[in-house]
Amino acid sequence: MSLDAGAPPIALDPERHAALARVWATPRGLWGFLTTVDAKEIGKRYIVTGLVFFVLGGLLAAAMRTQLARPESGLIDPDRYNQIFSMHGTTMMFLFAVPIMEAMAVYLTPLMVGARTMAFPRLNAFSYWIYLAGGVMLYAAFVLNIAPEAGWTAYAPLSGPQFSAGKRSDIWAQLITFTEVAGLAAAVSIAATILKMRAPGMTLARVPLFAWSMLITSFMVIVAMPAVMLASSFLISDRLIGTHFYNAAEGGSPLLYQHLFWFFGHPEVYIIFLPGLGMVSEITATFCRRSVFGYPVMVLALLTTGFLAFGLWVHHMFATGLPRLGDSFYTAASMTIALPAGVQIFCWIATMWDGRPRFGTPMLYVVGFIVTFVLGGLSGVMLASVPLDTQVHDTYFVVAHFHYVLIGGAVFPLLGAIHYWFPKITGRLPSELAGRWAFALIFSGFNLAFFPMHLVGLWGMPRRVYTYSAEMGWGGMNLLSTAGAYVLAAGVAVYLLNLIVAARRGPAAGPNPWGGGGLEWATSSPPPVYNFGMTPVVEGREPLWLGEELPVLDGLDERTREVLLTSVSQAKPTSREGSPDPSIWPFVTTLATSVLFVGSIFDEWWVVWGSLPVTACVIAWFWPKPSHSRQVKRRDSGIPGAIA
């Protein structure tokens, strides 16, 4: 590993740096904390909060595993257990997996594409606050013993007005609203950044694979999340104002819920998985000292996966008695998605085969990812078959499958990615020894915990059960799983401790500790608040590997916040645009919106009255500011898109 401890390629002289840093700075203290629109600050918070929810979700899982270690364990009563597994799934899927991937994108995207900040910085800030508010609401409910208890999928009629008493399922439905708003806001921001704010010369064929994966993920979020918004809104209105969407007695349909939910739910797992694939590509290229083999194929695979993901959802409903011919279509589609995934696996291994791999911690996670995710993907191919699925659906076999693909396919890349970009974010290196120990514990703990679940599923153990009887013979494997879970937990603890200690006391990292080729390594570690003092010109996929000189463009305004916009496919510079200053309105709007969302759990009129303060906040948010075009130097070259 070559430690590039010298000065970063792009660095301003101290005077200019100080002036530009002042322009882009976040104010000090609590006010600054609440008003910042700095994508890096928001990204860091988002990542840390996501990891906190990861730990909380993991503790819930530890409780579940402890209960299931022995048959008829009386440790946790069924009501609490049902809340715990519902909280575990809801936390992991809505409060950890998607948000943390978006969080990594929020921090990294501007740096990877050569921009000073994200598009729509206030929307970004709002995305974080509304996400946090949702998480707080859910955990407050858990502490008060009114957490949702119908699973993370909350099927009607179990979650409906007749069978789920109190406010539990309403809290679940509103958590969806909070997190989906957050996710959609971040997705719009990420997509616009990647489409319009790339450095000159970064044509679509030169966009880093992580940015590609985030672009496609953002499109998927935009199309998929409205489905779960509808599913949960219909649920809440069934419960609160007496609609009959899922009430069979009045013509409604429990299957409508499943269709709407899974139309979101299946793309959701690819929304979680695609960013991981992007991360694997970035790490592999750097640690193998070679561009990823088959870039066009990789991009095509990401696109294909993104599209196909929307055509599979019925495979979650194979046991519901839908017409068989329709089911067979979804079998074919579900198996087809193995093709882009398989092709990508080949490309990564080919990159390792042809490159010169060094097995630093991030690369260990890539190897772990390949071994684990492929196993999960293959059990997924099994599940795609309707007849086989009717046996293993809703058993621990499925639990094993989705943990293999989600942990193998998303969490391992994420852990590798956090370790990989940690030096860029903090300026310090994590310990390699601790990193390897953490990986070993996590990898072995994970497999010990989840592999036996394939077996108990085949042996007949359904999922979502708070206990099982001793005569079934499932006790041994369950005990093994629990032991594995504890080892996994220990590994996560070592991993996090490594980062916490390194953040304070790790050795200085320099701008490019791993010798990477992307633009994020062209600026200092941590980056200056404005990311890049001058705008790089991109001439290849790994700009920093091209030679001894990095061409840059100067001239962006240094007295106001200004960003560069370029064309969508060729990244030709087209115009400049102002970027917002810190603002309290994203935070205040979150407070008003939270009142609206939480209030409407209890009374539908909150939707009406609560929208008044929200409207006022949005108006304040968009209150006209001094015009950017007036404040900066301009030529009389005309405004693109104007008519005479």
Binding site: Y155, R324, L339, V392, R464
Partner: protein, 338 residues
């Protein structure tokens, strides 16, 4: 390196474990046509997917082995000499995946079609799922030959059965892994499952769709018997319960009919005729009580009646206040319901 080896070791253990598996609730021990067909697809999948996994691991191991080569001065950005070969490898790999998927999709489709095939003159059952028990009815030639039981399914070997599936509260799932795949019971919808058992024996089914507090304890006994034994069972089930002769049992009947029990349960031949809860007319012919939660013994019966919440917290069966004398009498009465 170590990791692929660990993977291999685990797979071998798994393979060993898989073979040695007989059980009353496992898909790996098929006892009927449908489960056997599914077993064919399972084995095919295991081999094909196993082979693909092996190929990935071998390629990975090779790449890791080559990592021992000396490092380059500068990273490789442009095309390398190995690329044409890798491109051919990619094309071959993609072709292999496509071929494999075509085989699996075709096999899956063919097997799926055959699952719906039935032998002629199937037996007809109707199962209605409730939170957290199974109502089971067998159609007869005449309306008064409708057999009602609970938490048990008895089937004649070699004859197909079609089970009509309904739910009256939330979504449940009817699953007897040794015989067939699961089918959900969805309020407002009627589903069907075909069962063609080929081996006599005792099996177990369990609800496989999360249905609330006691989803974990919603199982049912399954027995596959000779056709003659089935007809005999059916005859006994259709008969009403004879009034008890012995004193304690008679007292128990009286207690049963005067306390809360009659609000939910039916015992043909007595005054209890409610259908809210399971039909108890032939309770003693069942191997378990409370939907598989407890074995059907005197002590378990007493414990269940004395404190239903203790066995199944959240069950709709209330605690009926009974003195220990009344409790023993009721249990004695129930024990006459053979």
């Amino acid at each position: 390196m170590i990791r692929p080896a660990l993977r291999m070791a685990s797979l071998s253990v798994a393979a060993l474990a898989l073979c040695g598996c007989r059980g009353v609730q496992t898909m790996l021990d098929p006892a009927g046509d449908q489960a056997r067909q599914i077993d064919v697809i399972w084995r095919l999948m295991l081999w094909v997917c196993g082979a693909m996994y092996l190929l990935v691991l071998v390629f990975l191991a090779w790449a890791l082995w080559r990592a021992r080569r000396p490092p380059l001065a500068a990273p490789a950005t442009g095309p390398t000499p190995a690329e044409p070969g890798l491109e051919r490898g990619l094309a071959g790999w993609a072709g292999l995946i496509v071929a494999g998927l075509i085989v699996l999709v075709t096999a899956s489709f063919l097997i799926d079609r055959s699952l719906a095939e039935l032998r002629p003159h199937p037996l007809r059952l109707k199962v209605t799922a409730h939170q957290w028990w199974w109502q089971v009815e067998y159609e007869g030639a005449r309306p008064d030959q409708l057999l009602t039981t609970a938490n048990q399914v008895v089937l004649p070997v070699g004859r197909s059965a079609v089970v009509e599936l309904r739910a009256d509260d939330v979504i449940h799932s009817f699953w007897i892994p040794n015989l067939a795949g699961k089918v959900d019971l969805i309020p407002g919808r009627t589903n069907y499952v075909a069962l063609t058992p080929r081996r006599t024996g005792v099996f177990r089914g369990q609800c496989a769709e999360f249905c609330g507090l006691q989803h974990a304890k919603m199982a049912f006994d399954v027995q596959v018997v000779d056709p003659a034994a089935f007809d005999a069972w059916r005859g006994r089930q259709l008969a009403a319960a004879a009034p008890p002769v012995e004193a304690q049992a008679a007292l128990g009947k009286q207690t049963f009919e005067s306390k809360g029990c009659v609000m939910c349960h039916r015992i043909q031949g007595s005054e209890a005729s409610a259908t809210v809860g399971p039909d108890l007319t032939h309770l003693m012919s069942r191997r378990h009580i409370a939907a598989g939660a407890r074995p059907n013994t005197r002590g378990d019966l007493a414990a269940w009646i004395a404190d239903p919440q203790g066995t199944k917290p959240g069950t709709p069966m209330p605690r009926v206040a009974l003195s220990s004398e009344e409790l023993n009498a009721v249990v004695a009465y129930l024990e006459t319901l053979k």
